[in-house]
């Protein structure tokens, strides 16, 4: 009986479910954490709570019927997913796209990228405890949603691109609203920088937190702002130029150390680059038709195709196997968040639970995109 008291009191590990319903997991991601006090011994992201079977749906639906699905996989960058899917099928069926439609697609895709980054900015700082930037960034984001709503009819899940072009033409009201928005957002940068970037608390929460270097990104297949923050300038718009991106000059911002602060800075600079692209695209918007003649049901020739696009979170690829009919035989969307999320299993062990929130927020994943 006596040795029961002499037995050294060891500390038991504590299992915590940062589970599907958690304010900072941006959707229904479940982080199963094995904790030793405040430190994480092991982190196992459990996904699948947002699995809706997009790829199985593609196999029993026409190419045209899968269009709404494409923008519901990643609803923050819905137009970029739309653009990727439509461009992939056009390349397979070698459909010609008029120049004006390409320009409209680029303008709307970049606007969508900015709205996705603005939402990331708001929710990331809200995870770290600051509520005001959320209201600022959502206010700007509402402007973009108004502009895109005017031309595509919906705020989030667009089906605006069509095979061979876009659904509706831009009117000069759209162009005027976009130019006003560009100046308005440019005036906002120093607000954001004063409010957040120079804020000591934010710097302490983001500096040297969640270091992801080039080697780790290569092992886990991370792309997008995470990879660029590690110093690798890989952006599909420059690496595999598609659409009319070669005609615009814009830089790819890269970070140095690959910590959360670098990811933050890369995304803010990316928004500025997107504004530059939109400006150049608006200046050189050609006249002409917005949609080429396309058969009612697209029937691409047999074989498999891969087409990559730069989404807000990284390299989005569509791998489509066509059997010559108007139904895809197999459609796989290579989504960037899948690789970006997996890097957590290597980055989280050893960090504090509070840093997990900062790392998860700086990686910016959308769970239904991971779960497809």
């Amino acid at each position: 009986m006596a040795n029961e008291f002499l037995e050294p009191i060891t500390e038991q590990t504590f299992y915590l479910n940062m589970g599907p319903q958690h304010p900072s997991t941006h959707g229904v991601l479940r982080l199963f954490l094995k904790l030793d006090g405040e430190y994480i011994v092991e982190a196992d992201p459990v996904v699948g709570y947002g699995h809706r079977g997009h790829e199985k749906m593609a196999e029993s639906h026409l190419y045209e019927q899968f269009l709404p699905n494409s923008s519901r996989m990643d609803y923050l960058a819905g137009l970029i997913f739309n653009h990727g899917y439509v461009a992939a099928v056009e390349k397979m069926a070698s459909i010609e796209v008029p120049q004006r439609a390409e320009y409209i697609r680029v303008i709307c895709a970049e606007l969508n990228r900015i709205s996705s980054h603005l939402l990331w900015f708001g929710t990331y700082i809200m995870d770290l405890g600051g509520f005001t930037p959320f209201l600022y960034s959502f206010d700007d984001r509402e402007n973009i949603l108004d502009i895109l709503d005017r031309v595509s009819g919906s705020r989030l899940t667009y089906s605006y691109c069509r095979f061979g072009g876009v659904a509706r033409d831009l009117d000069d009201e759209f162009i005027k609203a976009t130019r006003e928005f560009i100046d308005r957002l440019r005036g906002r940068w120093n607000d954001y920088h004063n409010l957040v970037t120079k804020n000591v608390i934010f710097i302490h929460r983001a500096k040297d937190v969640g270091l992801i270097n080039r080697e780790l990104a290569l092992r886990f297949g991370c792309t997008g702002p995470i990879l660029r923050a590690a110093g690798v300038g890989y952006d599909v718009r420059k690496a595999e130029p598609y659409s009319v991106y070669p005609e615009f000059d814009f830089e790819i911002p890269t970070g140095t150390t690959g910590d959360a602060l670098d990811r933050y800075m890369v995304r803010l600079q990316e928004m500025e680059q997107s504004l530059r692209i939109i400006e150049q695209a608006l200046d050189r918007l050609p006249e002409g038709p917005i949609r080429s003649a396309v058969p009612h049901k697209v029937r691409p020739p047999k074989g498999d195709y891969y087409f990559a696009v730069e989404s807000a979170r990284g390299a989005l690829g569509y791998y489509i196997v066509s059997d010559g009919t108007s139904y895809p035989y197999r459609l796989k969307a290579r989504v960037p968040s899948y690789g970006n999320l997996q890097v957590l299993t290597d980055v989280l062990p050893g960090t504090l639970v509070a840093d997990t929130i900062s790392i998860l927020g700086s990686i910016d994943i959308v769970v239904p995109e991971v779960d497809r």
Binding site: S60, Y234, A239, G303, F307, A315, G317, Y319, Y338, D371
Partner: protein, 156 residues
């Protein structure tokens, strides 16, 4: 790492006849490799030497057995390599998660949706479907599908 020495690097691992160039603008990849099941690991190691990253692992179901597809790509130049591994029904594939950690989840997803087992994978369990699911949805004989073809129908 230009395309030529990438091709020559890979031809050490796979017979040169299995490597066929593809037009990037048309099919999206520069090299297509038809590998067999036991060459998978060596192709992965060669790709890792060539500083490529694993873009995705996926599979497609055919009447004469599923086919696993690996995509490798580079951060620097356009060099997407497509590795095609035809399997017989019920075959299993060696894992490449010791070469690329990304493969851990990609292989779990292919196992979850297709039922293809990856031997000596550290923890091969379902990732997307609930743990107690007993079916593999993306197989062509499950649920509603438009067509179920053989490999020869599509790739000739």
């Amino acid at each position: 790492m230009s395309l030529e020495d990438l091709k020559e690097e890979l031809s050490k691992v796979v017979e040169p006849t299995a490597i066929s160039p593809r037009d990037h603008d048309k099919d999206g990849c520069l090299l297509e490799i038809r590998a067999t099941v036991d060459q998978v690991e060596s192709v992965a190691k060669a790709a890792r030497q060539a500083d490529l990253f694993l873009e995705s692992i996926t599979a497609t179901d055919f009447t004469n057995g599923p086919q696993v597809i690996y995509h490798y790509n580079s951060f620097v130049t356009i060099s997407r390599v497509l590795v095609r591994v035809p399997l017989a029904r019920g075959d299993s594939v060696p894992t490449i998660s010791n070469v690329y950690d990304a493969a851990l989840w990609y292989e779990r997803e292919v196992f979850d949706l297709f039922g293809i087992r990856f031997d000596n994978h550290p923890d091969l369990r379902r990732i997307l479907l609930p743990e107690d699911a007993d079916f593999h949805p993306l197989l062509k004989d499950y649920g509603k599908v438009h067509a179920f073809r053989s490999r020869e129908d599509i790739y000739g």
